[in-house]
């Protein structure tokens, strides 16, 4: 092929690529414009009226909270048990889901010598399904059978966690070094022992890092599921908001509690993750 031909080909490719990018941008713009138009039509309150009253509600809450003065803090204290319940939902769901994820991840990794190799495919499909199931549906279904309680939310979040973490964990597993595992196999170690000593020490820091990230996501999910009847801070919020005017101080207290705890967990989790990552790099 002559130099000229190569040049034309590159030009043509570049042109095509640019065309694709342009088409993509036009498509996104069209989706945005028509989508917002459609959304505005479907919405019960329009955008412009909404913008005008956007600050009304926060202002109302803040005003009511301000009026309570110093007794706002005891008010916040009153909701701490609800916050603890939400954190417990997230904590238990993360632990149960995370433990399940570890099992699924080991069975769903192609490089660990899981005995009939079909198991790997099946387990991967199971994880996909667990990940895809919306938490809301599982929670509502279980609330319907078990009644209003934190347990449905816990189970719903745990199922999603098992699927999501399982996939990430198995990706970590598949990048693990096989040499230590082979070394243990040559000593006559069982499969479980090989996983425990050959794989787990390698992957544990990554697991913990993903786990912390997931815990943070789960706190948010547990709070929001509370609103549909799963207890905790979300349930309290539904109660105070349902009362309409007058409970603004309580709503404000709940908002502040939730924001504070999410902030603390966010900072804590990124601190731990940074330490895990740098701990690995410095070796």
């Amino acid at each position: 092929m002559s130099l000229h031909a190569i040049q034309t080909e590159i030009m043509a490719m570049e042109k095509k690529r640019r065309l694709y990018s342009m088409a993509g941008i036009v498509l996104v713009a069209a989706v945005l414009i028509s989508g917002y138009g459609m959304a505005n039509d479907l919405n019960s309150g329009g955008f412009l009226t909404g913008m005008k009253q956007f600050f009304d509600y926060p202002a109302e809450i803040v005003k009511e909270a301000w009026a309570t003065g110093f007794s706002f803090f005891p008010l916040m204290g009153r909701f701490v048990p609800a916050l603890v319940e939400t954190l417990n939902i997230a904590g238990a769901a993360s632990i149960v889901g995370g433990a399940l994820a570890v099992v699924l991840a080991f069975l769903g990794s192609a490089n660990l010598g899981v005995k009939p190799p079909v198991v790997v495919t099946i387990v991967r499909r199971i994880m996909d399904i667990m990940r895809a199931f919306p938490e809301l549906i599982i929670a509502l279904f279980l609330i319907f059978i078990l009644g209003s309680s934190p347990v449905p939310a816990m189970i719903a979040v745990a199922i999603h966690t098992a699927g999501a973490l399982g996939k990430l964990f198995s990706e970590v597993n598949e990048n693990a070094d096989a040499d230590p595992v082979e070394g243990l196999a040559s000593c006559g170690a069982t499969w479980l022992q090989r996983m425990r000593y050959g794989v787990l020490p390698q992957v544990l820091p990554n697991y913990l890092s993903y786990f912390m990230l997931r815990f943070e996501i789960n706190v948010r999910a547990s709070a929001i599921l509370g609103f549909v009847g799963a207890g905790g801070i979300g349930m309290e919020l539904r109660r105070t908001i349902g009362w309409g005017k007058g409970a603004g101080d309580e709503t404000a207290a709940l908002f502040v509690l939730l924001i504070l705890s999410i902030f603390v967990i966010d900072q804590l989790s990124s601190f731990i993750r940074r330490r895990l990552v740098t701990g690995r790099d410095s070796e």
């Binding site: 040499d179 082979e182 070394g183 243990l184 040559s186 000593c187 006559g188 022992q193 425990r196 020490p201």
Partner: protein
């Protein structure tokens, strides 16, 4: 131990081709041969890391290749293996790595929680002491030098209380000084513990210095099996091809010889690959 007709094929490639030999008394055997000759595959089949396609390995009328499950793992413990890349667990400390040699027979629950009794720890320390690295017992394995890591691997092998030891190019990635320490340690297993040591090597003078018997392999077949003194230049040429005309001492591991340079070795390997 009697190996008969041992064969391994990977698709169209026959890595080990109807190999037969026997080991009647404890001895140190060096297996030599060009890259791709099937040395590693042979050792891995004996340790049952790789399943053989055909053949048998008999010890006291028991065919090792027919073992499975618990018995197979028990055999793997009896025939310890040492690897070129050490295959330690880098994140665990040295004692724990040595303790891994006793995972076989350790209960699942105890293994999960990393519980090892006093006598096991003492035994592991003794093994490390014998190899001169007891001081590093609490260091993480990955922080050790290559030579030290290989000695940890040998300590782990000793911990297995093996009936024989296999070593797959144990000194290929070590400097001459470490290599000598490792070879001496292996030789000592032969002399002191009176065990058979089957060791893949690619430096002839190492084989000559340390081994009682040398097996030469070429394209999966055994082409030489005798005492090292019978390893004449013409035999060597048969095994390695003409490239061995390169000064043999250049691939030497002995410190007294010319300065060790790994380059010629790599060229040879590459040329044959």
């Amino acid at each position: 131990m009697k190996i008969t007709d041992l064969t391994k094929t990977f698709g169209k490639i026959t890595a080990v081709d109807a190999v037969s030999f026997s080991i009647d008394q404890p001895q140190m055997i060096g297996v030599i041969g060009p890259s791709g000759a099937g040395k590693s595959t042979l050792l891995r089949m004996i340790n049952r890391l790789t399943d053989a396609t055909r053949g048998s390995i008999r010890i006291n009328d028991r065919d090792i290749l027919q073992l499975s499950g618990r018995e197979k793992r028990r055999w793997q413990r009896d025939c310890a293996m040492i690897f070129q890349q050490f295959n330690l667990v880098p994140r665990l400390n040295v004692v724990t790595n040595v303790l891994m040699g006793r995972l076989n027979g350790h209960s699942t629950l105890k293994s999960l929680f990393c519980i090892f009794g006093r006598h096991l720890v003492d035994e592991a320390l003794a093994a490390l002491d014998r190899l001169g690295i007891a001081d590093q017992a609490l260091q993480r394995a990955e922080t050790l030098s290559g030579g030290q890591q290989q000695r940890v691997a040998i300590a782990r092998a000793l911990m297995q209380q093996p009936k024989m030891v296999l070593a797959d190019e144990p000194i290929a990635s070590l400097d001459p000084l470490s290599a000598e320490k490792v070879m001496t340690a292996l030789r000592e297993i032969r002399d002191r513990d009176n065990l058979t040591v089957l060791c893949n090597l690619h430096t002839l003078d190492t084989a000559r210095t340390y081994c009682d018997r040398v097996i030469g392999m070429l394209q999966g077949c055994i082409v030489f099996d005798d005492v090292p003194s019978k390893l004449t230049p013409s035999v060597v040429r048969d095994i390695y091809g003409a490239e061995q005309e390169l000064n043999e001492s250049m691939t030497s591991t002995s410190i007294s010889g010319p300065v060790f340079t790994p380059e010629p070795l790599r060229i040879r390997k590459a040329a044959l690959a």
